[in-house]
Symmetry: C2
């Protein structure tokens, strides 16, 4: 039996994830029927992009959508699910760290629609290769979610809760902490009135290298060379940045431990 596609969607939430997913759905010719957000201003803004109605009252959510997508903060999901008025309709949330069972109070048809990407307001995204991590309360609902995600992206993963949580932690390192490394670099440059511009080609190349290699294969720098003189010099240069000295030390140690364990594995 062919899986019926999801055509009409109601969006609960109006933040970055809700906005980007709505745009992705519109691009895939889906119809957004309604936007719900406790902040009327945000609801209105997203609704105008989606050319649909909006409300700030969960009790006014329209009936009959093929999918109710909850793109809200982790804390809000449970509350929204409890108040959700159309028991039995297909509901999903987009969180990387909450179980799908949080949606049990909406009835027996629920799932996860977790896009692994960094969403920033006003920064347009290419949705084609965003990894969608999917999970559902039944095989049939999983197929429906797969079909929908497949209309947006070529990158679908069936991921259980344990894996999704680890993925969420890994993403913090690969994205949020990486961005903070860029930020520290920029703060260091500013002390000597150097422009961030000078680092941009290096940042680009660093990311490009791991497109076709694994990061531990392409590690460079004083830590991996065990170049103690340079490391000491850097610590001295960082003496007006106590916190950065601490981070420098721990990451350097972590790089060196990784090399040591690689050596042990090779013996």
């Amino acid at each position: 039996m062919e899986t019926k596609s999801i055509d009409n969607i109601i969006i609960i939430g109006a933040g970055n994830v809700a906005t980007h997913l709505s745009k992705a759905f519109l691009k895939a010719n889906k119809k957004i029927l309604q936007v719900i957000s406790k902040t009327t201003e945000s609801a209105k803004e997203l609704a105008s992009i989606c050319n649909c109605s909006y409300t700030n009252n969960l009790q006014d959510i329209k009936a009959g959508a093929d999918l109710y997508l909850i793109a809200a903060s982790d804390k809000a999901i449970k509350e929204i699910a409890s108040a959700f008025p159309h028991k039995g309709s297909l509901t999903v949330h987009t969180s990387g760290s909450m179980p799908m069972e949080l949606l049990k109070s909406t009835g027996s048809n629920y799932g996860i629609f977790y896009p692994l990407q960094t969403f920033t307001k006003d920064i347009p995204l290419n949705y084609d290769n965003i990894p969608f991590c999917l999970e559902a309360s039944s095989e049939e609902k999983l197929e429906k979610l797969k079909k929908l995600a497949g209309e947006i992206s070529n990158n679908l993963y069936e991921i259980n809760y344990e894996q999704r949580q680890m993925l969420h932690v890994a993403a913090v390192f690969a994205c949020n902490f990486t961005n903070h490394m860029y930020s520290i670099a920029n703060n260091i440059l500013q002390k000597d009135k150097l422009s961030f511009e000078i680092l941009r080609p290096l940042i680009e190349e660093t990311a490009k290298k791991v497109k076709s290699s694994y990061p531990n294969e392409v590690q460079t720098g004083p830590a991996v060379r065990n170049d103690k003189e340079t490391i000491d010099k850097h610590m001295e240069k960082l003496n007006m940045f106590e916190d950065y000295q601490k981070i420098y030390t721990f990451i350097t140690e972590s790089i060196q431990k990784e090399i040591d364990s690689k050596k042990r594995d090779n013996n």
Copy 2:
């Protein structure tokens, strides 16, 4: 008076930087006259790429090149400079952390030719936008180096020693430490048998965002939202990785301090 171009170059060193710069020079139609490395095997390998002779003996360095480029470890530069037989010839080194005065023993014509990029063997590079950081013992020699670097790249910077050292530290954060963040993420994924592939679009987008924004403007994640529940959950998930817990804590604190200081600046 027009600056005479550098046409013939001798390369001292045969590692990653020496190899990539030699390729960049060849692409710009320069002639490499000779390769010198204490490891004969490496000298031979690079010389075959450059179609030139090689030696492992500093006393056999040929006279008459327009430029002698020392792309060697920080420790080796001084020793090479002391033994250098053609006093007064234009010599440069490529180090981000050593002063140009290290080359004083080669005579009075010296400088810095520091490419700010991550060089990995067998990973081809586009040299066009590599930032070259230049410094020289005289205005005339600086012009010569600018002319040469300008034949490889559009990205030239006149940088003094203090700035170059800070840049080198910043590059460790923006490149080496960033790559280690990728590596930690990969190690976390492996525990749950998840492929690094799933993170690649996120890594690409994270780097792409700072091409047109500053990193502190586009920071996302639980630290910047002050989402304590998620942070606690992540710490628990990392309980088999003690070092990663430590790094998680310090970087999270650093992100939060950055936000606090931004708030203070805005008040």
